[in-house]
Amino acid sequence: MKSAANRPAPPGEGDHALGDAPREGSGDPSPDHSEAPGEQTVTFRAIRDDDLVSVHDEASPTAGEGPAAEGEESPAARGGEDETLSNGRVFSGDGTPPGDEGLSADPAGDADDPEAAAEEGRPGDAEPAEDRDDQDPAVPEHDRVSREDDPADPAGGSGEASGTVVASSGEDRDETEEGRSGDAEPAEPAEDRGEAETDQDGINAGEDETASGEDGTEADQDEDEAGESEAWATGDWVRETPLPEEVSEALTNALTGLRESVTDLSFGLDLPGAEEARRAQTEILTQLDDYVIPRVHTSTAPALIVIAGSTGAGKSTLLNTLANAKVSATGVRRPTTGTPVLACHPDDHEWFAEGGLLGSLERRQAPGAKPGLDGLVLVSTERLPQGVALLDTPDIDSVVEEHHEIAHRMLDAADLWIFVTTAARYADAPAWRLLRLAKERGARLAIVLSRVPPKSREVVTKHFVRMLTEYGLGEVERFVIDESKVVDGMLPDHEITELRLWLAELSVDDQRRTQAVRATLNGALDSFRTRVPALARQLEAQVAIRGQLRGDVDAAYTAALAEIDKATRNGSLLRGEMLARWQDFAGSGDLMRTLRLRKPGRFAGKASRQGPERLNALKTALRTGLESVIVSAAQRAAEETVSRWQHRPGAAETLALAPGLSRPSDELLRRTNRTVAAWQDHLVQLIRTEGVTKRAVTRLISFDVESLAVIFAVGLLGYGAAESEGKGALPQRLLHALFGAESLRNIGAKARSDLRARIGMLFDDETSRYIQVLDGAGIPDESAATRLYQATYNLEVAR
C-alpha cells in the first residue's frame, strides 16, 4: 500500500495527486482533485466496473512495491465536484499475516466480488447490514484506508493529522502485528450529508453497487467479528467504521479551523450574555478537544456512556453494580464523586488510556486526593461488555460548582447519556435542565429512575413517565431501580438486569452502537451550527460595544478640542489675569517700547528701557490661561467619557479595573505646561522666519521678536480671528502694520494649526489610557467573528 507520493504522477496532476489529496478535501474540491484517486487506495465497496478497470490500471505499476492498491475514480469524481475519492482502508483480522501481500490479497478479493463477500461473510447478520443501508444509502464512502508508510511520502509529514495517523498505522502494520486495536483505528468515519447530496447524482447509478459494496464492508467486518471472541482474547481485534478519508480530513481540518478561531476569542466586556459566551467558548473547546476531534479521527472507539445525574442519585452505585466491583466511591457524603471514573472492558482499556477522547484529562489509577478538572480515573473490568465504556461523573446539582462543570464536560464527550435520577428528585429543576440540554443536543439518552420505594413504584413511575411524555421524552429508554440495600457500594445484581442487558445489546450490536455514536457526533456537530454563531454574535456585540466605547472617547475629546478652539476664538481666553497683564503691558507703555526707531529723533534722549518683567508676566499669564483652558477641557472630556461609558452596558466593570479614568492623567498638567511652552517657542521661531517685515518698516523700526510673539499670541488667541484681515483688534493692527496682511495670515494659520496639533497630541496621550483599558479587556477585532462564521460554514461544507 502506497500513497501516490512515490508513484510517477501524470504531468500537471502530480502535484495534487501526491499525498496532498487529503488536505484538498478540506473544502476545496477543485477539479484537479478528481485526479487524486490516482493515489493508491484499496477499496472495498462502491466500486463500479469502470473504476475497477482504472483502479487496476493504476494500481498495477505499484504492485511490485506494495500491496495491491486500488484507486477509485468514479465518473462523478471526474466531474470534479465531488470527493468520491475514496481511500480504501485495509484492515486485517487476526489471521492476517503481517506481510503486505497478505494484506492486499483480501481486499483485492473483496473488491473484485463484493457481493459474494457480503453473502459469504454475513450469514445470519443480514439485518443490521440492511439497517445501515437504509440509513445511509447516500453515503458513498465508508471505506477503509490503508497506506503503506513511505518515508518519502509527503503525506506522512505534511502535518495533516489524519494522514499522519494513517501513515503510521501502515507502518505499524508493516512492523508489527501487535497493538492492532490501538493502531488500526485511524479510518475515520464521518457522515457527510452535504457531501452525500452533491454526490447523489454522480453515484445514483452506482448506488446498488455502493450498497453491495457496503455489504461487503460489513461482511468483512463481520468476518472479523465472527472471530471476535478469539480476537478479543488475544487483544488483536479491530473494529472499524468506514469513513471516506477526505471527508474525515476535511472535517478534521474544518474542526481544527473552528477550534483555532474559537480559541483566540475573549469576551472582555461584561455585556449581557458575555458570561454565557465565555462558558460556551470553554465548552466548545473542551468538547472539540475531548470528543469531537478524537471522535472524527477514530469513530471506532468504544462508545462512551456517561452516567450523569443529581448528587446522591446513585450514579457511582450503579457503575459499581454494573462493573460488579467497587470502582467508584460511594457514601453518604454529598457530593460523593469528585473525579470522574471511567470503567471499560480490559480490551478497551488501552484505547481509553491513550485515546484522544477526553485527552486533556490526566489518567489516574485511583481517585485523586482532591477532585480536579484534570483527572480521570480509569478502571477496567471484565464485567462490562466490549465496546461500551461507562463514565461515572460528578453531580450536576450539588453545592460544589466545579462538579457541575466536570459533569457537563463529560456529557460533552458522551456518545450516550445515562441520566440517573431518584424518586425523591425526579421533579428537581436541575435534573430537568439536564434533560432539556440532552434534548437540545439531540444526545442519545437513557433514563434510570433509581431508589424507588417498591411500594410506590407504580405511582412514581407513572408520574415520571407522564412528565417525560409531556416534555417530549416519552420515547426515551427507561429503567427503574428499586430502593434496596446497598452492599459494598453495589446494588443487588437483579435490579440492574435490564440495564445490563441493554448494555450487552449495545455491545454486541455494532450497528446500533455505531449508529448511536454517530448520532451523538452529528448532534454535537449540529449544535455547532447554533452555538458557534451565537458566540460570533456575542463577539460582534462586543466589538460593536467596543466601537461605541471607542467612539465615546473620541467624541468626548473631539468636543474638548472644539471647546478649546472656541475659547481661543471668542475672546474668553483674554480674561482674568491675562487681561489684566495685557492692560498692564499696554497701559504702562511697554507695548510701545517694543518698537524702536532705528534713528531716534533728536529728542529721544534716553528712551526709558524698562525691564522685561511685564512682558514675562504677560507671557506667563498667557501660558497659564491657555493651560487652564486645556486642563479644564481635558477634565470635562475625562468625565464625559466616563459618564458615557457608565451608560453603556458592560463597560462599568471594565472601568472598575482602571480607577482614575474619570479625571485627567497625573501627567496632564506637566505635559500641558510643556506643550504650551513649546508652542510659544515655536511661535517666536515662526515670527522670526516667516515674519517678513515690510521694507519700509525695516528701515525705520526694529523690534523685539520675543515681545512681538507674545503680542501676536495675545492677538491670535485673545481676540480671535487673527487670520482675518488685519483690521480690528489692536495687536493685529500693530502686526499688520509691521508684516503686512499676507505674512500675518500665514503666521496666524500656522501658529493656530500648530497649537491644535500639539493639543491633539496631548489628548492622544490622554485617550490612550482609555484605549489601553479597552485593549486590556481583550476584545478581538471584527475579523474574529467573520472567522467564526467562516469556520462554521467550512464545517458544514466539510460535512
Binding site: T311, E401, A427, G576, E577, G587, S632, L700
Partner: protein
C-alpha cells in the same frame, strides 16, 4: 445540635426592640438620602426591609412564624404533620407534592392579621387550640408554615417559597441525606442568609434511612459544609418524620424559640446586618477618619486664592499701579518734559498708526473679568481635596455640588469685581488741580518771559516807550528779579511734579492694596454663596448618610 439556644428573660426584649428601632430609623434615613448615591437595587431592598419590618413589628409579637423550607421530597410536609400531630398537609411520593403553603397555629388569638400578611390562604390555615393538646402548651404562639419546595420545576414559576423564606421569623431547613448538599438550597439561600444563625435551624430529616454511623458522618459533613458557607453556629437537628424520632427535639428547639418571642426581631436584625454589609461598601472603613463636615479655613483660602488668580486680582492691582503711574505723568508731570517727549518722533506715527494710542488708552479702561477655565479648575481642585477616601458616587456628588453654579460664577465674579475696580482712566480731582497749578506755573513762566522780553526791549535796547502804566515792565533793573522768579517757577513746577509723582505712586500703592483687599473680600463672599454653600450642603448630606450607615451597623 451544635449550639443550644439559651433562654433570655423577656425583659431583654424592650432594649433590643429599641436598638432595632433606631437602626431601622437610620435605615430610613439612608433610603431618604440614598437616591442617586447608592445602588438603586440596594435602596429598593432597604425600602422593602423597612416596609417588612414595619409590618412585622406592628403585627402580633406573641407569635413566631416558623417556616419549614427545603427541596422537594425532603419531608417538609411529613415533618409538619408530625410536629402538629395531625395530617394537615398532604404528603406523597409524587414530586413535587405541596404546591401551597399550609399553616398551623398554636394559639389563634391575634394570629389572623399575621396570617393575612403572610398571604396564607384560608383553607390552608389550621389552628391547634392549646387546650386540646397534652403538653403542647409550650408551643403556644407558634405559627408553623409548610412551604412548597424551592427546587423543583414547579418552583421555577412559583416564588411563594422564596417569598416566605424572606419573611418568616425562623427558618427550618428540612434536608435529607440525599439532598443535603444541593446547590439550590445552599447557594441561593444558606450562603445568602449566612448571618442568620440565630433564626435558622437545619433539620436532617429521613434519618431512619441511614445507619447511626452514617448519620453521624452525614451530620459532620453537613456541619462542615455550613461552616464553610459562613454559618458560624449551625443548629442541626436530626429527625425522622416517619418514625417520629427526633421530632421531639425539634419541638423543644421550636418551643424555646417561641417562648423567647425574639425570633421576629432577630430575623429583622439579621436582615439588617446583611444589608448593612453591603451598604457599608459605599462609605469608608470604620477606622478611616470621619468625613469633613465643613470646609476648613485653609480650603476656603485656597479656593479664594485660586478664584482670585482666575480673576487676576494681583495682576489687576499691579496694572492699576503701573497705569496710574504712567497716566499720572500726563496730569501731574512736569509739562515741559511732556512737551519735549512729544517732539520725539514716534514709531507708530511712522507706521501710520497714530490712532492706536487712543485704543491703547481705551484698552486700559476695560473691566475686570474672570477666566472661566481657571474658575473651573479652582472648583475642581476644591472638590478633589475634599473627597479623598469617599466612595466614587459621593465624590461625584460633591463635585457636582461644587459645580452646581460654576456656569454663572465667572459672570457673577466679573460683575462683582467690576463694581469695585476703579476704571483705569479715572482722573482724581487733585490731578486736575495739580494740572491747573502746573499750567499756572507755566503761565507765570510765560509771563516772566514776556516781562524779560519787555524789559530787554524797552529797558535795555530802548526800542520805544511804554505806556506809563506799564513802565514798571520796562525797567531793566527788574531783570534779575524776574529771572530769579522764572527759575523759581520752573523749579517749583519740577518740584511739584516730582512730589506729586511720589504722591501718585504712594496713592496708587494704597489704592492697590485697598482694591485687592476689597476684591478678595468680594471673591470670598461670592465663593461662599456659590461654591462653598452647595458643597457644604452635600457634605452635610454625606455626613448624615455616613452617620446613618454607622448607626445601622449598630
Amino acid at each position: 445540635m451544635s449550639s443550644t439556644i439559651g433562654i433570655t428573660p423577656p425583659s431583654g426584649i424592650t432594649p433590643a426592640r429599641q436598638g432595632l428601632g433606631s437602626r431601622l430609623a437610620a435605615l430610613a434615613k439612608i433610603v431618604e438620602l440614598g437616591p442617586g448615591r447608592v445602588d438603586p437595587k440596594l435602596l429598593t431592598e432597604s425600602g422593602q426591609l423597612l416596609l417588612r419590618a414595619g409590618d412585622r413589628l406592628k403585627l402580633s409579637s406573641d407569635h413566631t412564624v416558623v417556616a419549614l423550607a427545603g427541596g422537594t421530597g425532603s419531608g417538609k410536609s411529613s415533618l409538619f404533620n408530625s410536629v402538629s400531630g395531625l395530617d394537615l398537609s398532604p404528603t406523597g411520593v409524587r414530586r413535587p407534592t405541596t404546591a401551597r403553603t399550609h399553616a398551623c397555629v398554636w394559639g389563634l388569638e391575634g394570629a389572623g392579621p399575621l396570617l393575612d400578611w403572610l398571604q396564607i390562604q384560608w383553607r390552608h390555615r389550621f389552628a391547634r387550640a392549646s387546650a386540646l393538646d397534652k403538653g403542647e402548651s409550650r408551643l403556644h404562639g407558634l405559627i408553623l408554615l409548610d412551604l412548597p419546595d424551592h427546587d423543583s420545576i414547579r418552583a421555577l414559576t412559583d416564588t411563594e417559597a422564596d417569598r416566605l423564606i424572606q419573611v418568616a421569623d425562623l427558618i427550618v431547613w428540612v434536608l435529607d441525606p440525599q439532598k443535603y448538599a444541593d446547590a439550590s438550597t445552599h447557594r441561593r439561600y444558606v450562603t445568602e442568609l449566612a448571618g442568620h444563625d440565630a433564626v435558622t435551624i437545619f433539620v436532617l430529616n429521613q434519618a431512619d434511612r441511614l445507619a447511626p454511623e452514617e448519620l453521624a458522618e452525614c451530620v459532620a459533613d453537613l456541619e462542615d459544609l455550613l461552616r464553610r458557607e459562613g454559618v458560624e453556629h449551625p443548629t442541626i437537628v436530626t429527625t425522622s418524620a416517619t418514625t417520629g424520632k427526633g421530632v421531639d427535639n425539634l419541638k423543644a428547639v421550636l418551643a424555646d424559640t417561641v417562648a423567647r418571642r425574639r425570633a421576629a426581631i432577630q430575623r429583622l436584625e439579621a436582615d439588617l446586618d446583611r444589608l448593612t454589609r453591603r451598604l457599608a461598601e459605599v462609605v469608608p472603613d470604620e477606622d478611616a477618619p470621619p468625613p469633613p463636615v465643613a470646609i476648613d479655613d485653609a480650603r476656603r483660602i485656597g479656593l479664594t486664592d485660586a478664584l482670585c488668580d482666575a480673576v487676576g486680582v494681583p495682576a489687576v492691582g499691579e496694572a492699576l499701579e503701573n497705569v496710574y503711574g504712567v497716566r499720572s505723568v500726563e496730569w501731574v508731570g512736569w509739562p515741559y518734559a511732556r512737551w519735549a517727549a512729544r517732539l520725539r518722533s514716534d514709531p507708530l506715527n511712522s507706521l501710520n498708526l497714530g490712532d492706536i494710542k487712543d485704543e491703547i488708552r481705551g484698552l486700559t479702561g476695560g473691566a475686570v473679568t474672570a477666566q472661566p477655565a481657571e474658575v473651573d479648575n479652582a472648583i475642581q481642585a476644591l472638590a478633589d481635596g475634599l473627597t479623598g477616601g469617599m466612595h466614587e458616587t459621593w465624590q461625584n456628588g460633591v463635585r457636582d455640588a461644587a459645580r452646581s453654579r460654576s456656569a454663572q460664577l465667572p459672570q457673577v465674579l466679573s460683575e462683582e469685581l467690576t463694581e469695585v475696580a476703579p476704571s483705569l482712566d479715572r482722573v482724581p480731582a487733585w490731578w486736575r488741580a495739580l494740572l491747573a497749578w502746573q499750567y499756572l506755573l507755566v503761565l507765570l513762566f510765560v509771563a516772566g518771559l514776556a516781562w524779560v522780553g519787555t524789559a530787554l526791549a524797552y529797558g535795555v535796547f530802548e526800542v520805544g516807550e511804554l505806556p506809563a502804566n506799564l513802565e514798571a515792565f520796562g525797567d531793566a533793573s527788574s531783570l534779575p528779579w524776574v529771572g530769579l522768579m522764572m527759575v523759581a517757577v520752573l523749579g517749583l513746577g519740577l518740584l511739584t511734579a516730582m512730589a506729586s509723582r511720589n504722591f501718585v505712586v504712594l496713592g496708587a500703592g494704597q489704592e492697590r492694596d485697598r482694591l485687592e483687599r476689597e476684591m478678595r473680600r468680594r471673591v470670598g463672599t461670592t465663593a461662599e454663596s456659590m461654591v462653598i454653600e452647595p458643597v457644604e450642603r452635600e457634605l452635610a448630606r454625606y455626613n448624615e448618610f455616613y452617620t446613618a450607615v454607622r448607626s445601622v451597623r449598630g
